[in-house]
């Protein structure tokens, strides 16, 4: 149950803004509703009747994720029309997605508008960190959900007042499994791993690395203290995805950050 308005948030995400405790929007408000909502009257009285007669096969041939994929394409079209470069940041919890955004946004947003969508199960902690940078941010709290989907992002960017020719960073829920399957309409997927994780991570969670466009290895300042083989990790990632672009950096010390910043600037210029 939603703790603000008391309505059911089972399976539904809520948008929040940092510092505005009275602001909250349910993603399903005014959007698609499931046909089995609580106010639906049941037309079939199970147990009182039993059906006799024939059964009939109906051909569907529809991709299970079709609805999400179609909405993601609508998002993509919207972003393209307004020349908004949207990046979907994916990683395990604690790999440094928010820290990386805190590093790259300040030098960028002097010249180009930046907006951020933050995804977490609960709290506006990450959105507060981004808001401190002075850029528009909205938090999606997925509740029990383990990933962002295209409908949540669609609803979120409508609340954000995006500008033309801008950068939109979408920080997904920290999870290396589920978000891989849900297209949000982004231009590119960025997967982040840190050296405190295992160098076999790309092999253990291949779907994510298979779907990603680039991989950032974060926290390289900790390499002397951990048992992490960078070249092995890179090789594992490349085996799963030959087209993966690869960067090594430390969001904390700034080491290696310039190369990725340059990549981002180039992409924004080409976009």
């Amino acid at each position: 149950m939603c703790d603000t308005c008391g309505c059911s948030t089972e399976g539904g995400a809520v948008l929040r803004k940092p510092g505005q405790s009275d602001y909250h929007v349910h993603v399903s408000d005014g959007e698609h509703g499931h046909t089995h909502t609580h106010d639906e009257h049941h037309t079939h009285d199970i147990g009182h009747h039993h059906q006799e007669g024939t059964s009939r096969k109906v051909v569907i041939e529809q991709d299970v994720l079709q609805k999400n994929n179609l909405l993601a394409e609508r998002n993509r079209g919207y972003f393209e029309a307004r020349n908004i470069f949207a990046l979907n940041f994916l990683s395990s919890p604690g790999s440094g997605k928010t820290s990386l955004l805190e590093k790259i946004i300040p030098p960028l947003h002097q010249r180009i508008p930046v907006a951020v969508i933050e995804g977490d199960q609960q709290t506006t902690n990450d959105a507060e960190r981004i808001q401190a940078l002075g850029v528009p941010v909205i938090q999606i709290n997925t509740g029990s959900g383990c990933h962002l989907d295209a409908a949540m992002v669609n609803r979120a960017f409508k609340e954000l007042d995006l500008q033309d020719n801008s950068l939109l960073c979408i920080e997904n829920v920290g999870n290396l499994v589920c978000p891989a399957l849900f297209d949000l309409g982004e231009a590119l997927k960025v997967v982040i791993i840190s050296v405190t994780e295992g160098d076999d991570k790309p092999l253990k969670y291949p779907t994510m690395f298979h779907e990603a466009d680039l991989c950032i290895l974060n926290k390289i300042d900790l390499l002397p203290y951990v048992d992490f083989d960078v070249s092995k990790c890179r090789e594992n990632a490349m085996r799963v995805n030959h087209h993966l672009e690869w960067f090594e950096l430390s969001a904390k010390t700034g080491e290696g950050l310039a190369a990725w910043q340059q990549w981002l600037e180039d992409k924004l210029a080409q976009h």
């Binding site: 006799e52 059964s55 109906v58 030959h242």
Partner: protein, 118 residues
Amino acid sequence: MHELSIALSIVEAVELKAQEEGGGKISGIDLVIGKLAGIVPESLRFCFSAASKGTLAEDAVLAIEEPEGVGECGECGMKFPVTFYYAECPECRSLRIKIISGEEFSIQSMTIEEGEES
């Protein structure tokens, strides 16, 4: 647990279709889930029973076909079975493999019950 939101989208899709087709109860759903699709069929079955409660698909039996992964070599064109996203061509040892089957994830058809109620 992305299987739960996936189960919900399956229920939503088949219920919509069943209503278009006259609103009969759904007794069976045929799904194709490739071995490389990133979906665990057992987990999906578990979530489906929760997701379909109170809907036309409540009693539907899931029939799941699981096609094997097939890769195609980008160098020599050889097609061969794969169990993972990376593979080596058994013919020319190339690693430039494109997955051509095994990532399917679709609702093929469903069975609707119709006829007179007694």
